[in-house]
């Protein structure tokens, strides 16, 4: 934390108004520019918190993984026997190939549709002022602010009334409700960072609207589009409430299938079956993310100008 050269200087100056606690050099014997070897107590506290959080996280992940490979596991530290049979039986029982295909299909349909619908709206919101803009912005913010169950239940009722209940179309449609506003909100901030005079310059040089779009805006927007797509992907694959309300056996995504297996009548399925499905879920998510992150850096959505020089 301490840049000791500055501290050494400040120690000489009198306390300034606005700084009620002028910091005395923590260790006067330290020479300017030297850092103390012992970290401050606050630093230890933060690191202890991080360690506890990661222990909890590691415990959660490893115990699910160990459970999914163990034959029987009750009263010992580790399962006495190891097996792969939970995976094969989970695959057969729940038809995981179909469920994973549905999950990916829903996710990609939602990504493409929400970009196609959301991006033009984000462009307008970022570039022009018009009467009623605040109202439109509110309309796009509400689905993000209101809990999914609140609009999910009326929406699911409408879907069942339309005869779309338990279909893939309904699952895709309900997932668009939070995704499109999400794309609009993130992309509006992204487009606002692109200097409008670039577009104006292209027009001055004789570019038509289509050329401005394809030659100027599209290349500049690609990083933002990809980053927003990843976030929509993570949200859609992980979205439980909305999908759960309208999906049926043929249109369950993986999360919903696991939940149904955990809560099915008669006390739920064997714990290890569910653990193996959970591992499949995490593995799928990690593969998709690793592949996606090879092409995109999601922090591109957030402009950072400079790193803290506070070190």
């Amino acid at each position: 934390m301490a840049t000791t050269a500055q501290e050494a200087q400040t120690a000489k100056t009198a306390p300034v108004r606005g700084a009620s606690e002028p910091e005395a050099p923590r260790n006067p014997s330290r020479r300017p520019g030297e850092k103390s070897l012992m970290a401050a107590p606050s630093t230890w506290f933060v690191w202890a918190g991080i360690v506890v959080f990661f222990l909890l996280l590691a415990g959660i992940v490893t115990s699910v993984v160990v459970d999914s490979f163990g034959k029987q596991w009750f009263t010992t530290w580790l399962p006495p026997e190891w097996t792969l049979s939970w995976y094969t039986s989970a695959w057969d029982r729940f038809n995981l190939t179909h469920i994973i295909a549905v999950t990916l299909l829903v996710a990609f349909a939602v990504i493409i549709l929400s970009i196609v619908i959301g991006l033009p709206a984000a462009y307008v919101l970022a570039r022009s002022n018009f009467p009623g803009k605040r109202l439109v912005t509110l309309l796009f913010l509400l689905p993000i602010l209101i809990p999914p169950i609140t609009y999910g239940i009326p929406l699911a009722t409408v879907m069942y009334n339309l005869g779309l209940g338990r279909t893939l179309i309904a699952v895709i449609l309900v997932n668009l409700v939070p995704s499109v506003p999400f794309v609009i909100v993130t992309m509006t901030a992204f487009i606002e960072q692109i200097n409008p005079s670039i577009e104006a310059a292209a027009r001055m040089s004789g570019a038509r609207t289509r050329q401005v779009l394809t030659r100027i805006l599209a290349p500049l927007l690609v990083p933002g589009i990809l980053a927003a797509s990843i976030l929509v992907l993570v949200r859609t694959v992980g979205m439980f409430e909305l999908t759960f309300l309208v999906s049926g056996p043929q249109s369950d995504t993986l999360v919903v299938a696991i939940y149904r297996a955990m809560t099915s009548a008669g006390g739920g399925e064997a714990r290890q079956l569910i653990s193996s499905m959970g591992v499949v879920y995490t593995a799928m998510m990690l593969i998709v993310l690793v592949v996606a992150l090879r092409f995109v850096n999601p922090t591109q959505l957030v402009a950072r100008v400079r790193d803290s020089n506070d070190d």
């Binding site: 415990g59 459970d67 033009p120 602010l145 009326p154 992980g238 714990r271």
Partner: protein, 308 residues
Amino acid sequence: MTSIATKPPKSSASLKHRLAERGIDARLWLLLPAIALALGLFVYPFAYGFGLTVQPLSSTVDTYGGGIFANYVAFFKDSFVFDSVWITLRLALPAALFNVVASIPLALKLRRRFPGKRTLQALLVLPITLGTVLTAQGLLIFLGRQGWLNRFLVDAGIVDEPVQFVNNYLGVFLSLVISGLPFAYLLISSYLSGIDPVLESAAQTLGAGWGARFRRITLPLLAPGLATTFILTFVLAFSVFPSARLVGDASGSTRVLALMAYRSFAEQLDYSMASTIAILMGVVELIVVAIVFFGRSFLYRGSTGGKG
């Protein structure tokens, strides 16, 4: 905009021009798909759901009276339903507060460069890939009576009996922290990166200590971002549903509103009561959000110097 086409060509040019000066031009058509989607899939179902709430089942009317508002009377009179408002708030408010408060020192400490920073950040964001259902399963196994933590505590002699970590309030709270903390950390550290570090350096040069710098420079600039982060994590925690059922005590201390709404919807098939609970749930949440927004309007607004 539709009126443009009907006008004669000469005046239409000037009208078009005058409209364009006020910001109404052909680009607004780009908004149409998004608005149509929001109206069709958000506003219409909401209105429909609101209509449902004033068409109560005859059994509800018989029990609670109140005519077409029987569902609302039932919501406030039936303590089994109404208590879940407090249950939800007791769970969501502390969880959101904890996530925001715990993220501040985390984001501050991880702001500077150190070896392995990227790896640590990637690991912090990892829980987002786990999803609520897997987190619930992991909590059940890891913190259960036979789980590693209890086994360690008993073997080390810290406790005599296994501690009940899951199937109660604590289990849901932990699952909310695991899913909410990375999110809060990401948001807060992005707000923090928008604050120009030169401001803090200046304060340091002028003799401000660590505490004064945080209290007088960083915190006031960060406060609006903290309020926004609080709202977003609160929204996530407020609609907690799968973990309340899986790692909570679904009939007692974690009988949250989302669960009650779902039960009416899928188990009792009482769509009008389900819509009532769902909409009142949204109202309760928006009241909290509005209070935070109101408080936020007193905070610092404007440039934080770090961007642009």
